[in-house]
């Protein structure tokens, strides 16, 4: 989750054009909280998509 959160945070900063404007970690607190939520959503979405694909394609269980 730390890895996903960091990547999401960097992405959000770049999307908001707020890169290279931070002096201390404390300043990214709200965006870090948002990044955690987005990261969890992405992790769950990928997992859900895999469950869905496995159900649709009747994929055999891994051994």
């Amino acid at each position: 989750m730390i890895v996903f959160t960091t990547l999401v945070l960097v992405t959000i900063l770049m999307l908001l054009n707020r890169e290279n404007q931070i002096d201390r970690f404390v300043q990214v607190k709200p965006l870090a909280a948002l990044s955690i939520v987005v990261a969890i959503a992405i992790i769950l979405a990928i997992g859900g998509a895999r469950f869905w694909l496995e159900a649709v394609t009747n994929a055999p269980a891994l051994v």
Binding site: V10, P30, A33, I43, L44, V63
Partner: protein, 220 residues
């Protein structure tokens, strides 16, 4: 009477001082993590099922490639445990060394080592694939090797992410400071893998360690 406008940023700094911030804003990150964790624990399924479901998109979860703990298969297989462990190890060590503000490329020596780390995982991955396909393979794959090579690749990925943070976050990134300055630093970041309960203490890492005379730590 003259009016002197406050320099930009003063108001926002005053508003964000810890003493004036409400509780929920001061501990926003901790609260989000807490509620996410509580939500996970409160979900009405067995812990193992929930852990596997949450990690389902991040890892293949092949049982034969996974470690077992008290008879239960762990939600991450050996390689993924290594990759995420390696990334975490790189994060923590580079943070401890103050490299989170560094925006310079790794030194040439460390760059070569990091590339070799990724190549090592690729080689082990293909060897494992060939074994699964029941084709000729150079050596017998093992979960310990998956963990080690995954950890090595994780160190490379973590280094890149830390450098990305150094380049992206800070108002004045330290372009002249290399994120990894010495060739042996990536190898140092692999050493925590050896403290992993599932690590192979007689394997490759154990044989590599004596190469570093300055390292007082030896495998048990």
């Amino acid at each position: 009477m003259t009016f002197m406008p406050a320099p930009p940023g003063i108001d926002s700094q005053a508003a964000s001082t810890p003493s004036t911030e409400p509780f929920y804003r001061r501990h926003l990150v901790a609260l989000v993590v807490f509620f996410a964790g509580m939500g996970f624990l409160a979900a009405p399924w067995p812990f193992e099922t929930k852990a596997h479901a949450v990690m389902h998109g991040l890892c293949a979860q092949t049982p034969s490639h996974s470690f077992y703990f008290q008879g239960l298969v762990l939600p991450f297989d050996g390689r993924m445990t290594g990759i995420y462990g390696g990334v975490l190890s790189a994060f923590l060590i580079l943070l401890a060394l103050g490299r989170h503000r560094a925006a310079g490329l790794p030194s040439s020596g460390s760059l070569v080592i990091l590339l070799l780390f990724v190549v090592a995982m690729a080689v082990d991955g293909f060897n494992s694939l060939l074994t699964d396909l029941q084709r000729w393979h150079p050596y017998q794959p093992s979960n310990e090797l998956r963990l080690l090579t995954g950890w090595m690749a994780g160190v490379a990925i973590g280094t890149v992410v830390v450098m990305l943070v150094g380049m992206t976050f800070w108002r004045s990134p330290r372009v002249s400071q290399r994120v990894v300055s010495h060739w042996w630093l990536p190898i140092l970041m692999v050493l925590p893998n050896h403290s992993h309960p599932t690590a192979d203490r007689n394997g490759i890492a154990a044989r590599l360690l004596p190469v570093f005379p300055s390292c007082s730590w030896r495998p048990r």
